[in-house]
């Protein structure tokens, strides 16, 4: 039969999403100075209260501002544990449990992708996962680059969509490839394509099978930035959005986003089984990766990383997964999609809400057109006036503390809202409130 979902009365939550103070005022309120002597116990507790009070409540059901939100209690305990145990992931010697655990979690993520073998590592953020992909792709094409650098190589280029995350650009700069070489340029050596599954603003999914065909034909490393969209793979109903993902060479997937594992939790996964990751990055430091240890040193995976000390990021995901099961994780994804559809349907019923496009995922991009502007599209000054609506509504909602949702311009499109539905604590009331609140905050515009 159908699952019984836990139901609960959610009282009107009196906690604001944020308690806005502008920077100067906040500096004064917080007593930030670091002094010579220790502060008394009571003062320290008060500092804790103040820090919590003036921080944005990203766990709040009405925090819709970023591609992460919500709180999973099991992941939270996992994080408390990781912090208490305070060790590094580099060797079995100092992190035995976590070395084994990371491998199990990565194996599971690979299985969800459709790979029954492969390699991978947790990175401090999806941007760095992108850098790993770029570095590996480069290394595979030109292994000598590790030792000799880019000087004698032909100019390398990589391809990505305009909707890609900006970390692709930052990566190209950081790795010495250069911003100009992200795209198609004459007289260069293409080595990589980075496709996006779940783009940052629209939540769009690139057609992976077709892109894989191109990569196969031209022998390009096929990386899929699924930092945001990867979690759809957990849903039997929605994983079709990433059909072809198993043809990728590497995938970035951030469980700290839709899966709410807590920052940072960013997996970099690859299909390769030739130890490419380690060959590409290793420096064989003898003070850390001794060859004569008394246990099987293949468990010391630290040399695969560009980092030395590396925080344990697998425990929070593992503990949460143990508590929820794959099915529990799937339910959350399906639920987020369902709520998105609900919100979209409600939006369409209301005047003033104009969708930019039909969402593929859980990003809903829309303009709110206040009454005074309705019916004036095409008239002079319309775009400019419309572009001012979102920033003002945003300012008002933050100062009120009622909710947070982000806005941005895009190309010739003026400021629009990007609503993101993640948190399983969200109710239909919250979504109805969302629409009511925007209407209310913009009513006089």
């Amino acid at each position: 039969g159908p699952h019984q979902l836990p139901c609960d009365i959610l009282p009107n939550d009196p906690t604001p999403v944020c308690e806005w103070k502008d920077p100067e005022m906040l500096r004064d309120l917080l007593d930030l100075e670091l002094g010579d002597s220790s502060e008394p116990h009571e003062k320290l507790l008060q500092l804790c209260r103040d820090v919590a009070r003036f921080s944005v409540k990203t766990n709040h059901p009405r925090f819709f501002n970023q591609l992460f939100a919500g709180l999973d209690h099991h992941a939270l305990v996992g994080r408390f544990l990781s912090d208490s145990l305070n060790t590094s992931q580099y060797t079995y010697e100092v992190g035995p449990v976590f070395v084994l655990m990371e491998e199990v979690v990565l194996t599971k993520l690979r299985a969800v992708i459709g790979w029954n073998s492969g390699d991978g590592i947790f990175c401090p953020g999806g941007s760095i996962s992108t850098m790993y992909a770029m570095n590996l792709a480069r290394y595979r094409a030109f292994p000598e680059v590790k030792v000799r650098g880019l000087w004698s190589l032909p100019r390398l280029a990589l391809f990505t969509s305009q909707e890609c995350h900006y970390s692709v650009k930052k990566s190209a700069c950081f790795l010495g490839i250069g911003l100009e070489n992200v795209q198609l340029v004459d007289g260069i050596f293409p080595f990589m394509v980075s496709a996006t599954s779940g783009s940052t603003v629209f939540g769009a999914f690139d057609p992976l099978d077709e892109i894989a065909d191109v990569c196969q034909k031209y022998q390009l490393w096929f990386h899929v930035d699924a930092a945001w969209g990867g979690s759809v793979l957990l849903s039997k109903k929605h994983r079709h959005l990433m059909t072809g993902i198993d043809r990728a060479d590497s995938v970035a997937w951030n469980p700290h986003k839709m899966m709410m594992a807590g920052l940072q939790c960013s997996a970099f996964l690859l299909k390769d089984t030739s130890n490419l990751l380690k060959l590409c990055h290793s420096a064989n430091a003898t003070y850390l990766f001794q060859q004569d240890k008394f246990y099987d040193i293949s468990y010391d995976t630290g040399d695969k990383s560009i980092q030395c000390g590396r925080k344990v990021d697998c425990l929070k995901l593992w503990l949460m997964w143990k508590a929820r099961g794959t099915r529990g994780m799937e339910e959350r994804v399906d639920r987020a999609f369902a709520y998105t559809r609900y919100l979209m349907d409600e939006m369409k019923k209301r005047e003033g809400f104009q969708l930019l496009l039909e969402p593929q995922f859980v990003n809903i991009c829309f303009w709110y057109i206040p009454p005074s502007l309705r019916g004036q599209q095409g008239q002079e000054g319309y775009e400019e006036k419309l572009s001012k609506v979102a920033p003002i509504v945003k300012e008002r909602m933050i100062k009120k503390g009622s909710m947070m949702v982000s806005y941005q311009p895009r190309g010739s499109q003026v400021n629009f809202f990007r609503m993101v539905v993640i948190n399983p604590q969200i109710t239909r009331e919250d979504l109805d409130f969302f629409l009511d609140e925007i209407e209310s905050l913009a009513s006089d515009l």
Partner: protein
């Protein structure tokens, strides 16, 4: 019904259930009550097992299991269904049991150790709030705190006018920032055009430097062979005259020197490069001076020992990891720059319009996220700030002084004790020594002697780990055979623990 960890409470609903896309939408799925209950029960477990016992000298440092056995014991597999409340609590217990207790007074294995309770509380708060430090909008408090901490650290470096900086996910990444910014300063076009076709850039570091310098060169497309290793003296310090020679050599080759990385507190010996002389060379040749003070930077907190970094104010950039000697908790790594022209921002920015909108209602210069190579970024400064508030500068200074005093004590004891031999006098908290078991003591020190001595440390290490009595690292280094590297950090370490180190090694190695 027998439901896993989401202990279900059925209660009246406020709205009629709706079916959307096959999903019943009715109230929150995440049952906060049972989740909070889990946290409340897990917390005392964490306090007892992962904090109290884990820092208790009467408990074991580690509960050794070989990998295959540990896999069986932990039952790591992730399955379709979730597990019960009790099972998950048991899992927490098992994770703690088989984890190495890096907060234990006898964990001397790495360049981090110990447990500061204030930092821990701050870390718990950070986790609960789960901020990302890219914009003031989303993390106002943590951004301001990071700013204050960076500024304070720069005061200790000696930059009176201040500078710029950011917290990085590790010292290795801080070193990469240095290379990237130095390269950008040298030739800003590289950001757009890349390195291909340009004259070869060369960087310099001592042969004792941390391996992240090599990894940085590889990652950034410069190439490991373009890190020229400068010889060090018998105390592990870079020889400035050799640096000059290497720079000249690079120029003769037609390459372009652009950066020198000096190390303040090397990984193995804890040696400090002579910063004033190195700064002179850099000034002469217009090279960016980066000081990797990831390990040794904390000596700056001590009025007694800060002379070790004399000249550091002349650096262009500094890496300093409070998660090491100051016990701030992984990760806590600052990258500091003297520059005040916005170089860091210019070097890294991509100006993503979905995150760094120009028309926000507050001063957008507060949004520092575009200085970073990361997008979302953890708040790593807060735990350091809170600990500093709790202990004060004097308290932090006291810790550094005490650690170094204990290291000195151990070194002196080693000199008095038969069978122990120091490699060199420690300047910092690294005590490097051999244990020479009785059977080797009368042997002439030829190849056979060294070959057998090389096997002593690994064997003793195995024994100490299986016993769980302490953990000390060992390594070969250059032409030296395996020796122990004892690291003193935690204020919970006592003189008795130092005596124990020597007694225990003797006991474990008596039959060798």
């Amino acid at each position: 019904m027998d439901s896993p960890s989401a202990d279900i409470h059925l209660s009246p609903v406020t709205k009629n259930a709706v079916l959307v896309d096959g999903v019943v939408l009715n109230g929150p799925t995440l049952d906060s009550k049972s989740g909070e209950k889990f946290v409340e029960e897990a917390f005392p477990l964490i306090m007892e097992e992962a904090v109290r016992k884990a820092t208790n000298v009467n408990e074991k440092v580690c509960e050794w299991q070989p990998p295959d056995a540990l896999k069986q014991l932990l039952d790591l597999e992730l399955r379709e269904e979730g597990e019960s409340h009790q099972q998950i609590l048991q899992r927490c217990q098992d994770v703690i049991k088989y984890s190495v207790k890096t907060g234990h007074p006898r964990f001397f294995n790495q360049l981090y150790a110990g447990l500061d309770h204030y930092s821990l509380v701050a870390r718990f708060i950070t986790e609960a709030l789960n901020p990302s430090v890219y914009t003031y909008e989303v993390s106002p408090v943590f951004l301001l705190i990071e700013e204050v901490v960076l500024k304070k650290m720069m005061e200790y470096v000696g930059w009176e006018k201040g500078g710029d900086g950011i917290f990085c996910p590790g010292g290795s990444v801080s070193n990469m920032y240095a290379v990237n910014v130095a390269r950008y300063k040298h030739c800003p076009n590289i950001k757009d055009e890349g390195l291909s076709g340009l004259p070869r850039l060369v960087m310099f570091a001592s042969e004792e430097c941390h391996y992240s310098i090599s990894k940085a060169a590889a990652f950034l497309g410069i190439g490991m062979k373009n890190v020229y290793a400068v010889s060090s003296d018998d105390r592990g310090k870079m020889i400035p005259e050799e640096l000059e020679k290497q720079v000249q050599r690079a120029k003769k080759e037609g390459a372009v020197p652009f950066l020198v990385c000096a190390t303040a507190g090397t990984t193995v010996f804890g040696a400090f490069d002579p910063l004033q002389e190195i700064a002179d060379v850099c000034k002469k040749h217009h090279l960016w001076l980066h000081v990797d003070a990831s390990w040794g930077g904390s000596a700056l907190m001590s009025r007694k020992h800060r002379h070790l970094l004399s000249g550091i104010h002349r650096a262009d950039s500094v890496a300093w990891n409070p998660h090491k000697m100051l016990m701030a908790g992984l990760q806590c790594c600052a990258f500091l720059m003297k520059d005040r022209t916005g170089l860091l921002q210019m070097c890294h920015s991509a100006q993503a319009s979905y995150l760094f909108q120009k028309d926000k209602f507050y001063d957008v210069s507060c949004d520092t996220g575009d200085k970073s190579i990361q997008c979302s970024r953890r708040s790593d400064a807060f735990k350091f700030w809170f600990m500093w508030k709790a202990i004060g500068t004097r308290g932090l200074e006291g810790r550094v002084n005490r650690a170094l005093a204990l290291a000195r004590y151990l070194a002196e004891e080693i000199k008095k004790k038969e069978g122990f031999r120091l490699l060199l006098e420690p300047e910092y908290a690294n005590v490097c020594f051999w244990y020479i078991p009785p059977s080797l003591r009368n042997m002439p020190e030829g190849p056979e002697f060294w070959k057998r001595l090389h096997q002593v440390a690994p064997a003793i290490k195995e024994r100490m780990m299986k016993k769980g009595s302490m953990m000390i690292g060992y390594q070969p280094h250059r032409c030296q055979v395996n020796f122990f590297r004892q690291i003193v950090i935690s204020p919970q370490v006592s003189r008795e623990d130092m005596d124990f180190v020597l007694k225990e090694i003797e006991a474990l190695g008596v039959d060798m």
